[in-house]
């Protein structure tokens, strides 16, 4: 619905405004969507990783060192997806 309204608005816009401005605006929207979308999953994922690591560490404090190493690895793998989105946002802008 919102997208439809936006598109209607944009088609109206093309007639009156410079096309370059339109491309610039759409690029900015694309960058926002690329990074925003890519940040959702990893955000949840890192939450799960760290939450479970804390549970494990409080249950077995003696294994905290090993859990921490694994936690950082888990964060690194999950975070990579968000970073791909970050890089993509710059690629989109050309």
């Amino acid at each position: 619905m919102l997208l439809h309204l936006t598109l209607l608005h944009l088609t109206h816009f093309i007639g009156t405004q410079d096309a370059g401005e339109l491309v610039k605006g759409l690029t900015a929207i694309g960058r926002g969507i690329a990074y925003g979308g890519a940040a959702i999953g990893p955000g949840i994922g890192i939450g799960i990783v760290v939450g479970n690591a804390i549970t494990a560490m409080s249950r077995q404090p003696e294994s905290a060192g090993q859990v921490q190493t694994t936690m950082f690895l888990g964060i690194a793998f999950t975070e990579a997806l968000a970073l791909f989105g970050f890089v993509l946002a710059f690629i989109v802008s050309g």
Binding site: T69, F72, L73, A80
Partner: protein, 253 residues
Amino acid sequence: MLLGLDFPPVAHLVNWPTIWGSGAFAINKVVLLFLLAAVVTIAVLMAGTKKALVPSGAQNLAEMAVDFIHNNIIMQTMGPEGMPYAPFLLTLFTFILTLNVLGLVPLIQMPANARIALPAFMAIVVWLVYNIMGIAKQGPIGYFKHILFPPGVPKALYILVTPINFVSDLFVRPFALAVRLFANMLAGHLILVSFVVLSTALFNATKIGAIAPFALLIALTGFEILVALLQAYIFTILAGVFIGLAIATPDHH
């Protein structure tokens, strides 16, 4: 724009004018930082090989780094058989950490890893090391069999597992390794730059209004020190994990 806020394009933040030379061999600020980090890394390796019984100064610091690599990276990922890789991992760790920390030193303030060239090169080196060592340890057939047909997986699932493992082990791993370091450093640099721009604009416009963003800028610089350490650690430990997975003989599973 509001308050005269003018954010420079990203290309302006990481490109530096050539100081000397031209073409592919031009020397600019980033290249100077590479050289400085290389000198620091060699100095740490030299200091670490000194044989004084009671370590002092640089030797102390180098032995701390070696201890960290041994206990927190190699023992956690590869076990005792990974000890021969300590010099390689120490070199990676020191080099990345130096470049990351130099990115926060006042007047330098350019994380050289925010340009993808160096992370990509280091990721390719790690990729070569773990593949070559895996092939040397298990033989080409055993190595690729181990990657593509991991033991203990039901036969029918190989339709799914084999292509995923092929893409993930040989392509996504080095790419993610490079992009992780690069994007973290670039993102940190951009955040600091945006707060500098905001502080400057608010200082010019209202004087008093710049206190909040400037305080946040100091806090974020502290956070970036943590990120600099963490990214050096993660790059090194992932290199350790990949080498460890490659050289592990199949009967360990």
